[in-house]
Each structure stands twice: as C-alpha cells, then as structure tokens.
C-alpha cells in the first residue's frame, strides 16, 4: 500500500479539482489539445530541472513510497506524473476563478 503513497497524493489532486470541470464547467479538459500543448514545454523544462537536481542529489525519493518504475535520469514515474497533474490543477483553478469572475482577466 505504501508504494502507492505518492501516486495517491497525485490522484487526490485530480479528484479534488475534478468538480471544477464537472460542476463549474471550466472547460479545461474539454480543450484537451490546448492543455496538452501547454503541458509539453512545462514537462520538458521541469523534468530537466528535476533530473539535474536528482543527479546532484539535491533531493532524493524514498523508494518505499513509490511504485517501482524509474524513468531515464533516475526519474521516478510519479515525478513525471507530478508535472502533468499539478499544472493541470493550476489551469483548472485559474479557469475556475475566471469562470466566476471574468472581469478579473485583465
């Protein structure tokens, strides 16, 4: 069970923000091409940062809390997913604010 800990944190983020799409109808997942195009440069830049930090041992991950999938650069699978999930939650939040307060766009 503990091997799913990090994955569970990420899943909780997606579950917690899902009502923004399903109830508030922010239309972020509906614009999935725009979302994927947004995530692409973000993933490239921040995975590079992460791999660099891992190589310098700035931070380390406890394997007891990870599923045992390590990507090139000794990057845990969860870290790649982190850079997909967290930016998606950020976009959902931003669009939720705009949905309720369109006048705050500028």
């Amino acid at each position: 069970m503990s091997h799913l800990s990090y994955l569970a944190v990420l899943a909780a983020c997606l579950v917690a923000t899902a009502p923004l799409e399903l109830v508030l109808h922010v239309g972020v997942y509906a614009q999935w091409r725009r979302l994927l195009l947004t995530l692409l440069p973000v993933v490239v830049v921040f995975v590079a940062w992460d791999v660099f930090a891992i190589s310098r041992r700035m931070w380390t991950y406890d394997p007891r809390y990870l599923v045992d999938v390590t990507l090139p650069g000794r990057l845990p699978l969860e870290e790649l997913l982190f850079f997909l999930v967290i930016p998606t939650c950020a976009v959902l939040t931003y669009e939720a604010v705009l949905t309720r307060r369109p006048e705050w766009r500028s």
């Binding site: 830049v45 406890d62 307060r101």
Partner: protein
C-alpha cells in the same frame, strides 16, 4: 549550484516568460493572483504530505534551511515558477475563439 539559487533563478525566469517572452502579463491581473493564492494553499497541503512523510528528502547542503509545513522555502519558488510558466503558456495558447470553439 544549490537548490536555493536554482529556485530563485527559476522564479525570475518565469516572471520574464510572463512579462517579456510570451507577454501574457498575468502578473498584472487579479485572476492570476487569486488563483495563485488558492494554489499555494493546496501546495502547502500536498507538499506538506510529500515532505512530511517524507516521500522526498532534501540535501541540507542544497537548501537555505527555512521550512514551511515540512517543505523547504525553495519549494515555494519552484511552485511559483511551475504555475507561472504553465498559466502563461495556457493563456498564450488560448484566446476567446479557442474557448468558444471548445464549448
């Protein structure tokens, strides 16, 4: 290079992306700051879990040593850079046409 320096440079680069590179100027909008305030609260919760268990450990020599809900303060700058670059890119790729077409 320490995580401290890298985090400061990352946050500064993110500001440049918003104001100069993509010219989305989200930093001047209320929507960005309100969204960021919400995101930071949840970052402290989730990052608190990750660093409190701890699933992630930091080299004491790579950070300045100030912590907030278990996490090094550098994570706030890292998170800001991540959110800033994400939202700037999202807005740059958007526009009202895209929004209407998707609905």
């Amino acid at each position: 290079m320490s995580y401290t320096l890298l985090a400061v440079l990352g946050a500064a680069a993110a500001v440049l992306v918003d104001l100069v590179v993509l010219r989305t100027r989200l930093l001047t909008t209320r929507a960005f700051w309100v969204a960021y305030a919400i995101i930071v609260f949840f970052q402290l919760v989730t990052n608190g879990v990750l660093t409190g268990i701890p699933i992630v450990r930091y080299d004491p020599d790579a950070i300045i040593g100030w912590h907030l809900v278990f996490a090094p303060v550098e994570d706030l700058l890292f998170g800001f850079a991540l959110v800033m670059i994400t939202l700037s890119t999202w807005v740059k790729l958007g526009g009202r046409e895209t929004r209407r077409a998707a609905r």
